[in-house]
Symmetry: C2
Subunit: 283 residues, 2 copies
């Protein structure tokens, strides 16, 4: 494996295996063909033809959300969607625009709608040497149990912005104080699109950096992280390159950190492919 392989792994999406999902003039999701066939049974809500699918109901967000939710209930009953926590994501034409409907988080990959999350690199610096606080995901997590993760990460639920989600997750996941959270800086957005068992993940990760004091130790409060470890970035990069220890998308966040902080450099033969590949076009 190589760094570029980690990027490719998160971009396994194959257009030939999916079709666009439309609402009015907006392309709002990518449906894997087997999932589209299932939606075709709900012809009062979804019009599905050979090459595209369309969400039929129009109107206010609450009404459309309830209609879609009725379909999601049948998908959950058929075990095509693992319904989670009654946490919903906004489905909007574009980031920051009014949502067309809200979708249970568990159904997001089935419909291939774009999902937004935040990732926080909590780091220490000693000259040119960086260390990052790395969490180990709890063994009961639905996605990537036991894998290594950023100090803080989470999906942006409906009604939350990026900064509000970061603040909420940083408090719950790593017990950051409001003073420390306020010092986290947004440093970019990474994008990828991959096929999973459930469908298509079309993800945007808003990345934040926070240099933490040497006397700070993160402690988890919500049971989602089994523990934290401060790791030298050089060791992290070697594990990323040679093992699958890190959650698939966390590899990308840390490669971006290494690029932005001059640890990965243009003389690395993979540099350009990795630096470019972290930013899949938003089509």
């Amino acid at each position: 494996m190589s760094f570029a392989d980690r990027v490719r792994h998160c971009n396994s999406y194959d257009p030939a295996r999916a079709m666009p999902l439309w609402s009015g003039e907006h392309r709002i999701g990518w449906l894997r063909r087997d999932n589209a066939e299932v939606l075709a049974r709900h012809s009062e809500v979804f019009a599905v033809d050979d090459d595209s699918a369309r969400l039929l109901p129009r109107g206010d967000t609450d009404t459309v959300s309830r209609t879609v939710d009725n379909v999601v209930e049948t998908l959950v009953a058929d075990r095509r969607v693992p319904k989670w926590r009654n946490e919903t994501f906004d489905v909007a034409p574009r980031w920051g625009e009014q949502p067309i409907f809200r979708l249970d988080r568990g159904a997001v990959p089935f419909f291939g709608v774009r999902a937004y999350g935040v990732h926080l690199n909590g780091y220490r610096r000693d000259g040119d040497n960086y260390s990052l606080w790395i969490g180990r995901r709890a063994s009961n997590k639905q996605v990537a149990p036991g894998k290594l993760d950023n100090m803080v990460a989470g999906g942006i639920g409906n009604g939350y912005g990026a900064a509000a989600t970061l603040a909420k997750e940083a408090e719950e996941e790593a017990a950051l104080t409001p003073e420390l959270i306020a010092r986290a800086a947004p440093v970019g957005a990474l994008t990828y699109r991959m096929e999973t068992k459930l469908g298509i993940r079309d993800d945007v990760m808003f990345v934040y950096d926070l240099e933490v004091p040497t006397d700070f130790v993160p402690t988890n409060g919500d049971g989602e992280i089994a523990g934290f470890e401060l790791m030298p970035l050089t060791e992290i990069l070697e594990r990323i390159r040679t093992t699958a220890a890190f959650k698939f998308n966390v590899n990308l966040v840390i490669l971006d950190f290494a690029i932005r902080h001059g640890v990965l450099r243009p003389d690395d033969p993979e540099y350009l492919e990795v630096a470019n590949g972290l930013h899949r076009p938003l089509d």
Copy 2:
């Protein structure tokens, strides 16, 4: 105008107006159709059909370079290529690989081969307030005369790497000492593809950041910069948004700086489009 408009301006490339240029199995350039028609007259060197063109000579770099140079001479005579400075760029299948041939810099957009450059953000920081040293390009520059520029920028000529080019340009353009140059950190790579009067620019910019001391003032040594000014980043961003004062691709470098340093933030409606649009895929 908006920030996203600046990104779109650098990505004006329209595939319908161009065709790929191949060498063996490698796509090495994008030829605008009118340029392809001109190359078709040199059928011993270029095979041109309706949808693609092919460089025919194979062999060692010097031999292929001389053959292409003979064609370039006729393009210069026809004023289709402004021949510059006898400075050549490597044309390789990918960054870091052995060049297939070397091409005079003036002919690079005619053939639409990928060109690589370095850009250095020379900045001061006072808390959350950033200022950047901005150069004004000399009025006799062939590209973007009189426009505002980064403190240091330059194309990567054949045989040079990114770091060596930065060191050379930083000394010539801004009189940076070797000690200061050594503190510049590579922070990423930006990509764009635009149509110009001459053809297609398919550019990669390796970006560097350097925090300069408060007593440092850049001075130009090669006549390419008419003068330098220290500008607050907030003022720079306003000028980028509302004027065409900055060279087209320098807009991208500074938008990237503002994103990486948390000055542009996810709550800006253009954030995602800009952050993503700075990284055109390397196809």
